[in-house]
């Protein structure tokens, strides 16, 4: 990619970011209801009109919307995401407390999803139109169709309740000694759920990409000149077929932050997805804005990364002039 094209692309992303920042402010306020129940607590119904106004004023919610928007923009520009309506802690602090857990959870499952997906996809493609390929496809589609919360509950019932092998909730044992082993044990079931729920797509994309490569002329020639089958698939076919998979994985990486809300809920895992979900229920505007912003930035960053790394995999993009058909 030339510098000119790169700067154009970054400019496009900045525009998207700006739009998203505006939407992040507008959408929470367009929702029915408001944060009053969160601000007023359990006895919000007993508050007098004056107390209600005072409460809204404390959080600047009595100001005209343009003024609120201005303050929010100024805050975002200076890295201040405001304070949560729920506990008055800075939004950035609340997000940062959750971020490592989400990165750990979704990061591990992304790695597993990719490895498992590519392996199953390549394996199925190599056995195309045999009975085992059909069986694999049916199995993969069935797993893909199962809702993650259901898979999670099954894993809890099986490995947690029946067998008693693994902890079923949280990131560490409450009151326990903690430590690496404890964190790892708590990670197994949620990561397994996310991986089961996610690897099918990678597998299917890998399979179809592999099939088109395997049927192409260069591979035909390679086979004719006697390249061993293992090398043919692993070296010649898989590398070429990796392009769409690379795009898919990076797009999934964009969803890293907010995409695990269901699994985080089922396993009571303290991630960003759950924070966002709870913020929506509480109409905690600052946390919603902050979490959505984080989400937007990751999606854009992952897209940018996909754009930047694509040429490394595909020489045709790297040297467009040299390509001849």
């Amino acid at each position: 990619m030339t510098t000119r094209r790169l700067s154009l692309r970054i400019g496009q992303y900045l525009l998207v970011l700006l739009l998203a920042v505006g939407l992040n402010f507008a959408l929470p306020r367009a929702m029915p209801g408001g944060p009053l129940a969160t601000l007023g607590g359990e006895d919000v119904g007993l508050l007098g009109a004056e107390e209600r106004e005072q409460l809204l004023a404390e959080y600047d919610l009595d100001r005209p919307l343009p003024e609120q928007f201005g303050r929010y923009l100024a805050g975002v520009a200076t890295g201040d995401l405001g304070t949560s309506f729920v506990d008055r802690r800075p939004v950035s602090e609340r997000l940062l407390a959750r971020l490592p857990w989400t990165l750990l959870l979704v990061g591990s499952s992304l790695v597993l999803t990719t490895v498992l997906g590519v392996a199953v996809g390549a394996w199925a493609a190599a056995r195309r139109e045999r009975r085992r390929d059909t069986g694999t496809i049916i199995g993969v589609l069935a797993i893909d169709a199962a809702p993650p919360f259901w898979v999670g509950m099954l894993l809890i019932a099986g490995f947690g309740v029946q067998l008693g092998w693994l902890p079923t909730f949280g990131a560490v044992t409450p009151g326990g000694p903690g430590g690496f082993g404890d964190v790892l044990a708590h990670l197994v079931l949620p990561v397994a759920t996310l991986t089961l729920a996610g690897f099918a797509q990678t597998a299917l994309v890998t399979r179809s990409s592999m099939l088109s490569v395997l049927g192409s002329e260069p591979l035909f020639v390679a086979r004719a000149k006697g390249v061993p089958r293992r090398r043919l698939i692993g070296h010649h076919a898989l590398r070429t077929a990796a392009l769409p998979v690379h795009t898919l994985v990076l797009l999934e990486m964009g969803w890293l932050i907010g995409g695990a809300v269901v699994v985080e809920t089922v396993f009571s895992y303290p991630g960003v997805g759950r924070l966002l979900f709870e913020a929506v229920l509480a109409r905690d505007f600052p946390v919603m804005q902050g979490a959505f912003l984080l989400l937007t930035v990751t999606v854009i960053a992952a897209n940018l990364l996909a754009d930047l790394t694509y040429p490394l995999l595909d020489p045709r993009v790297r040297h467009p002039v040299e390509v001849t058909q």
Partner: protein
């Protein structure tokens, strides 16, 4: 039907599937899945539910009277556990009671008993309360608790008004410190509720720490210093609390040395963790369809008692047609609460008093009972001239009796109840369309801005009030009075002279006896004016492992998570 005792993996998996369908936060269509589970279990579970005693401790073979550490589930974060930062009435306020003490404490049957105040008296006028404080009480940081802290607390909650107790201390004219262990509190008028709230409800704050806190809602764990049986030693937001027994507790150290409170995002995970042994008790209410399973298991038990949270069919009395008292009365006659209790709660609930108040509340009028009589409902509507059209739906003054019924989408039992009500009302020619919506969105239509003077925009809504309303005559008056100042909970916009008069009589009551008579009057007036149809009061049901600890005490209408379960008070 399924075998009663679940031993093999398959039924367990099926149960998990049914449960996961009830997982409101994750399911796309929570209603569908849960309905199936509830229906298939109805007959069988109904039998056991009726045979069950008030507190089911049937399986307690090896009950433990003491424990080193327990892990307990709650359903959401409760902030830094100070009186200004906890979140929910239940279980937040109950958890608060483990770290903090009140002057008086409600015992298992909700009668006020001494706690920080070892003795109290009221003068003949009913306006001066004299409290003698317990000797030798210290805060968790070792400072002595004195009468100054009491005076400070009353002053603090009246200055920082975002508290549960600000209204309750509004009538306090003066708090006088007589000496370190005696205070007198002067009220502007006799208040029969004063012992319950604030005295047995408001935690005492340490003056030496809280006098410098100007923004109590931002108070962190360092401000969570009470005199209670437990000190808060660890808090990880949205994950867990660790409470360690206060060895110097004035009423003797707690029977359990350490409590680990785990925050769950999904109730069904908590019930699974209770079965796997990771939890010793779940303070999240057990779903009725699990009661039988828990009772059948050797290592699990169920604590059960009456619950004071109400479930209602709220009517907008300002809507055309619904503004006719007879139409609302016909709706009440057409509804059969006993079927709702059987199908939705599998029998784990109490039949309604049409005047709102739970039969076990001291304020209740036991003579009021719900009448189910569909024929009478039809007759009443015929007499009004609301005759059925071609489609069987009645019309009055040209307007069809066709209404939208709002219900929280994350509450499958209420959705199920709404579906049954839809069928019952169809029997008398009233058409109901059920509209499940997100909770805040429903609130915004039924109770915009949590201020009844802002009006309302709904026909019918499934609704409920939390337990405290049931014990407080003043709040029952607020349910129906037409003036928003008094009727702050009158979400149906009722304007009925008899209800207004009765509500005012409750407010004017000077002693418990007068208040009782007025409250009963008010219940009869509400039952007659029908701003809502009281449907049922679901039991409070909690699962626990008796092998870990079996000293749980059930407080009526509240449950087992309270200091009553860990120390000898009240």
């Amino acid at each position: 039907m399924r075998p009663r005792r679940i031993r093999s993996a398959l039924p367990l998996l099926l149960a998990a599937i049914a449960l996961s369908a009830a997982c409101s936060t994750a399911a796309d269509d929570p209603a569908g899945g849960t309905d199936a589970a509830e229906e298939s279990d109805t007959d069988e579970a109904q039998g056991t539910a009726e045979e069950e005693a008030e507190t089911g401790e049937a399986d307690t073979t090896a009950g433990a009277a003491n424990a080193e550490a327990l892990t307990i589930a709650i359903g959401g974060d409760e902030g830094s556990l100070t009186p200004y930062t906890y979140r929910t009435g239940y279980p937040g306020w109950n958890l608060l009671g483990l770290v903090w003490d009140t002057l008086l404490v409600l015992d298992a049957s909700n009668e006020p008993q001494p706690l920080l105040a070892s003795d109290w008296s009221i003068d003949d006028a009913g306006t001066t309360w004299t409290l003698t404080l317990h000797e030798g009480v210290t805060w968790h940081d070792g400072e002595p608790f004195t009468a100054d802290d009491v005076a400070f607390t009353f002053d603090y909650v009246s200055r920082f008004t975002q508290s549960r107790w600000t209204n309750a201390v509004a009538g306090v004219v003066d708090v006088t410190v007589v000496d370190d262990l005696e205070v007198t509190i002067e009220l502007d008028a006799p208040d029969p509720e004063f012992a319950v709230r604030p005295l047995a409800d408001m935690p005492m704050l340490p003056e030496h720490l809280w006098s410098t806190i100007d923004d109590p809602e931002a108070a962190g764990v360092e401000a969570a210093v009470g005199t209670g049986p437990y000190r808060l030693t660890e808090y990880e937001q949205d994950q867990r609390y660790r409470l360690e027994a206060n060895e110097d507790y004035f009423a003797g150290p707690a029977r359990v040395e350490e409590l680990n409170i785990a925050v769950f995002a999904d109730p069904s995970t908590a019930f699974a963790a209770l079965r796997s042994g990771e939890l010793d008790m779940s303070a999240i209410r057990l779903e009725p369809q699990l009661v039988e399973q828990f009772e059948a298991a050797d290592d699990l038990a169920v604590a059960r008692g009456s619950g004071f949270a109400s479930t209602l069919l709220q009517i907008n009395t300002e809507r055309p047609v619904l503004d006719r008292t007879e139409v609302r009365q016909a709706i009440g006659l057409a509804i059969d609460p006993s079927e709702l209790i059987e199908v939705v709660l599998l029998g784990t609930g109490t039949a309604p008093n049409p005047g709102f108040v739970h039969p076990d509340s001291p304020l209740s009028d036991p003579s009021l009972t719900h009448t189910f009589d569909a024929a009478a409902a039809n007759e009443l509507l015929d007499e009004l001239g609301a005759l059925p059209g071609e489609d069987g739906v009645r019309a009055l003054d040209g307007a069809p009796l066709s209404f939208e019924l709002l219900v929280y989408a994350d509450n499958p039992p209420r959705i199920r109840a709404a579906e049954l009500i839809q069928e019952m009302l169809a029997e008398v020619g009233i058409e109901v369309t059920i509209s499940p919506q997100e909770a805040v969105t429903v609130d915004d239509q039924v109770w915009p801005g949590f201020d009844v003077s802002q009006g309302r925009d709904f026909d019918l809504s499934m609704w409920g009030w939390s337990a405290p309303v049931m014990l407080d005559a003043g709040r029952i008056a607020a349910l129906g009075h037409s003036d928003p100042e008094i009727g702050s909970l009158n979400i149906g916009g009722l304007d009925d002279p008899a209800v207004d008069a009765a509500a005012e009589a409750v407010q004017a009551a000077e002693d418990a006896e007068q208040r009782q008579a007025a409250a009963q009057e008010l219940q009869a007036a509400l039952a007659d004016a029908r701003p809502f149809v009281t449907l049922y009061y679901g039991d409070e049901i909690f699962g626990y492992r008796p092998g870990s600890y079996d000293g749980w005490v059930f407080q009526d209408g509240q449950g087992i998570l309270s200091k009553l379960s860990f120390v000898e008070v009240g």
